[in-house]
């Protein structure tokens, strides 16, 4: 059983591949996407994705825009923004739009794993709360 179900979105293919290898080794189930629309498509296919690691600067649909779309379609999925120095402001803007956190590229793998784990836990907590609420609602209805 994987620690977390992760979608890694970055336009740099070698980066995505390297990071997938490292995260996989740390017991994470990672699927890649190389742009915004690709990420949305993958999310749609894989309902199990808990955390999205999203690059801010991408050609076409950039990270912030993609974040908006993800949050719209999958409000519970947690998003960690990956950014360089030049786009820190954008990442902070992303936080305001509901991103879980942001990390500077290149980032320490342990920190990333920690953040992903936290994000996944939060997502699960949110889900559990929702399930509990639903059970409570059903129970209340029966009684």
């Amino acid at each position: 059983m994987a620690i977390a179900q992760v979608l890694l979105v970055d336009d740099e293919v070698p980066f995505v591949e390297a990071l997938i290898r490292r995260l996989t080794k740390r017991d994470m189930a990672v699927i890649p996407a190389y742009d915004g629309p690709g990420a949305l498509a993958k999310l749609k296919e894989n309902a199990r994705v808990e955390v999205v690691i999203l690059d801010v600067k991408m050609p076409g649909m950039d990270g912030i825009e993609t974040l908006g779309e993800i949050k719209k379609a999958h409000p519970l999925v947690e998003v960690i923004m990956l950014t360089g120095h030049a786009t820190v402001e954008s990442a902070i803007e992303g936080m305001k739009k509901g991103a879980f956190d942001y990390l500077m590229k290149p980032c320490d793998i342990d920190v990333l794993v920690g953040k992903v784990t936290e994000a996944a836990a939060r997502k699960r907590r949110h889900e559990e709360k929702i399930i509990e609420a639903q059970i409570r609602e059903i129970t209340t209805r029966r009684t």
Binding site: F15, A18, R22, H85, P106
Partner: protein
């Protein structure tokens, strides 16, 4: 070559400035001097004519009064004594002595002549007692007039002389008392009118015979010329009488018209002598228009003062002109030196501005480049981390070895990528080299498009090039050319950062020029800004983003290359920058 061109340009500029300054300064000076000289010359002529006219008139009066006085002396003698008394030669001799005592040797002799022309009595130095004048012309003329003055003639004594005679009657018969006037004394009187070095006076009769000593040497005119003076004086007199006292135009004596002397018949002529000399001649009638008193003076002598003034004025003008030319040379040389210095300073400043603009461009580029470098660095870090991960599993695993190799290969690839990026940035950011060299414009376009590719990609801008394959190389500074293109393309990408779009860069050429156009599909430039986009420090970018120098630098660089840059833009459709660089101009004359 460029220095030579510049020097010849400055030499030409200096020459043109000298010519303009000299012309502008000398023309008014020459005009004023000319007018003053002309005025002075005509005033001087008037003065000389008036002065000579006055002198001649005065002299005429002196001569006339002298002759009249002599006639009156003889008349007085004839009236004071009886005919019988005067018939006595001794008595006559005593009278002659008395007269000579009174007037000096003006009277040479005295004779009493009867109606037959016989000299009844004679007192004088010649043997003329009983001389017969019955055939003498003067005798017949003297008989007809109560008082008579003859022309100069040789007569019986063989010396030039003239006589004054009075006619009296005794016992119904006329008799004549005549006296000879000393020719030398008369001459001396006439010649007292002497002005300057050559001004001399003499008397002519209507036959053109000199009644006094003729002028000497080159001063002498032909008889015909002297006769013509009579004719002209007659005509002038007639015209004056017809005009009711007004003087005729041709022989007007300047300034005489309003003078009381205008009635006095003084005529002025200008004559050329046989030897080529010019003379001013002032004439006046004497002895009931039978004689003409002539004053003759060389023109140059008469107007010597004018000539001296003209020479002085000319010398002063010459000195003035010399000093003007000297000042023009000095001032122009200084001005040209100053212009050259200012130009050098301006070039240095614009070079500094270009440098500054370049640094600004580098700064703007840096953000994009940092991100661009960040990507391979991130990959390298992840690959290195992956190797460490695998090392944790143990090095003896053969499968891991393959993975090591792959990861290291990837690191190397990304390292090269970093090197390429930094190389591109450095090649753009290196010190501006303004040296003119052969530049292939197509290469510059490719390089700049490549440098901005990452920025374009993230801005979702597609850069397309359409380059003429056999584009002739231009003579330009490579880095300046890069900068021109960089600034324009950078602006285009910036303008389309949010919307995305297309940039088309096109090059083509004909025999005379190379053309470069950069067209984007951005938001366009509003009409109000279009006229100012090449102004320094004009920018529409947010504060801190643009310096407002980019396009002004482009304009400066293209201008320096004797090229042309213009812009065409439609709001909502896009903007096109067109740069035209001359080929011939660059091959021939470079920047002055």
């Amino acid at each position: 070559m460029q220095t030579d061109d510049r020097q010849s340009y400055y030499a030409g500029l200096r020459f043109r400035m000298i010519v303009v300054v000299v012309l502008v300064s000398l023309a008014p000076m020459a005009l004023v001097s000319g007018i003053i000289l002309y005025q002075f010359s005509s005033y001087s002529h008037q003065m000389v004519h008036a002065h000579l006219g006055e002198l001649v008139l005065k002299h005429r009066q002196d001569i006339e009064s002298f002759i009249k006085q002599r006639l009156s002396d003889i008349s007085h003698l004839s009236k004071s004594f009886m005919f019988e008394q005067l018939q006595d030669s001794e008595f006559l001799q005593q009278r002659l002595w008395t007269l000579q005592e009174e007037y000096g040797f003006v009277f040479v002799d005295i004779g009493l002549i009867d109606e037959e022309g016989r000299q009844e009595a004679y007192a004088g130095p010649f043997e003329l007692s009983r001389a017969d004048y019955s055939r003498a012309e003067w005798f017949h003329k003297a008989l007809k007039s109560p008082g008579y003055i003859s022309d100069v003639f040789l007569g019986l004594r063989g010396h030039p002389h003239f006589i004054v005679a009075v006619r009296r009657h005794w016992r119904g018969s006329p008799w004549i008392l005549r006296a000879t006037i000393d020719f030398a004394a008369f001459n001396t009187l006439v010649e007292t009118l002497s002005v300057g070095k050559t001004g001399t006076a003499f008397i002519l009769n209507r036959e053109g015979e000199f009644q006094t000593r003729p002028p000497k040497g080159e001063m002498k005119l032909t008889k015909e010329q002297y006769m013509s003076l009579f004719r002209k004086s007659d005509e002038a007199l007639l015209a004056r009488e017809q005009a009711g006292g007004r003087e005729p135009e041709a022989q007007d004596v300047g300034g005489f018209l309003d003078d009381p002397l205008k009635e006095s018949q003084v005529f002025t002529f200008k004559k050329g002598g046989e030897s080529g000399g010019k003379f001013i001649i002032v004439a006046s009638f004497l002895k009931s228009n039978e004689w003409l008193l002539i004053f003759q003076q060389e023109y140059s002598d008469a107007f010597a003062r004018l000539k001296r003034t003209q020479i002085t004025a000319g010398f002063i003008s010459f000195l003035g002109a010399l000093s003007i030319i000297f000042m023009a040379v000095v001032v122009s040389t200084r001005m040209v030196k100053r212009i050259a210095r200012l130009r050098t300073e301006k070039e240095m400043m614009s070079q500094q501005i270009i440098e500054t603009g370049k640094l600004a461009s580098v700064g703007e580029l840096a953000a994009g480049i940092a991100h661009e470098i960040n990507n391979p660095v991130a990959i390298m870090v992840e690959e290195a981390g992956w190797i460490q991960d695998l090392l944790g599993d143990g090095i003896e695993d053969g499968k891991n070895l393959e993975e090591f190799k792959r990861a290291l290969g990837q690191i190397e690839t990304q390292g090269h990528r970093c090197k390429e990026i930094t190389h591109k940035l450095l090649s753009f950011a290196r010190k501006t080299d303004a040296r003119v060299q052969t530049v292939q414009l197509n290469d510059v376009v490719t390089e700049v498009v490549d440098l901005l590719s990452q920025k374009s990609r993230y801005a979702n801008v597609e850069a397309e090039v359409s380059l003429q394959p056999d584009l002739p190389p231009i003579q330009a500074s490579l880095t300046e050319m890069q900068q021109v293109l960089m600034n324009i393309v950078h602006n285009a990408v910036d303008a389309m950062e949010k919307t995305g779009g297309k940039i088309l860069i096109r090059t083509d050429a004909d025999a005379d020029q190379v053309r470069l156009s950069i067209t984007d599909t951005g938001p366009g430039i509003p009409e109000s800004s279009l006229g100012r986009i090449f102004d320094p420090f004009f920018t529409t970018k947010p504060v801190g983003k643009g310096t407002g120098l980019g396009l002004s630098i482009c304009y400066g660089i293209v201008n320096k290359m004797r090229g042309r840059i213009d812009v065409e833009s439609q709001v909502g459709k896009g903007t096109t920058f067109r740069i035209v660089l001359p080929l011939k101009e660059q091959a021939g004359k470079k920047h002055p």
